[in-house]
């Protein structure tokens, strides 16, 4: 699975993209909590959005190894129904 980072989270992680291999099906929320948040030094990504294969999805979306997951900081227009909480 490829992950793309943009704007501020790209700066936090000092990385624009990575590859992960998923051993089993996992939701975006679980993946973020286990594999992304521990690397953020206490910073929170509440309000961030997720896109899988260029379509906005919520945290319950199940990921697979063929997906391209993009982690998107909040857009300037305000909160979205898809925002991570």
């Amino acid at each position: 699975m490829k992950i793309l980072y943009f704007a501020i989270i790209r700066e936090w992680l000092k990385c624009g993209e990575e590859e992960f291999h998923l051993g089993s099906a996992t939701t975006i929320s679980d993946f973020v909590k286990k594999r992304i948040e521990p690397r953020l030094n206490g910073r929170k990504i509440d309000g961030f959005l997720f896109a899988v294969n260029e379509n906005l999805v919520d945290g319950n979306h199940l990921l697979n190894n063929e997906d391209v997951l993009a982690i998107l900081p909040p857009l300037s227009g305000g909160a979205s129904q898809f925002a991570f909480r």
Partner: protein
């Protein structure tokens, strides 16, 4: 578009880089985006706006990269039979763009840089 005989009004919006924001002097602004999702979302927005307001056409142009005041950032043109729909479509398009298109802005000021 102005040559269409049923076009009665053209409304436009132009977004610019401000020289000041929240009391801070803006020296530059960097816009980054998630291409190709941004392009897809812009096209979806265009189609949604045309359908919602029953207008003739809508054009959206958005720049990315490093800009300085008073550079143009985004331009929207709405063509409709009547001015009411043209104005409404133009307003809707810029409001929705900010909620749905993955573009981010970083402001550079004398005090440092901030994502806004």
């Amino acid at each position: 578009m102005g040559k269409r005989s049923d076009a009665g009004g053209i409304a436009t919006f132009m977004g610019l880089v401000r020289a000041f924001s929240g009391g801070r002097k803006i020296e530059a602004m960097e816009l980054t985006h998630y291409s190709p999702m941004a392009e897809k979302q812009l096209e979806k927005l265009r189609e949604k706006t045309i359908k919602k307001f029953g207008i003739i056409n809508l054009t959206i142009v958005h720049r990315v990269g490093l800009l300085r005041p008073p550079d143009k950032i985004v331009g929207i043109v709405a063509v409709a039979e009547h001015r009411s729909e043209a104005f409404a479509a133009c307003r809707f398009a810029i409001d929705e763009l900010k909620k749905s298109v993955p573009i981010w802005k970083k402001e550079f000021t004398p005090a440092g840089e901030t994502w806004v």
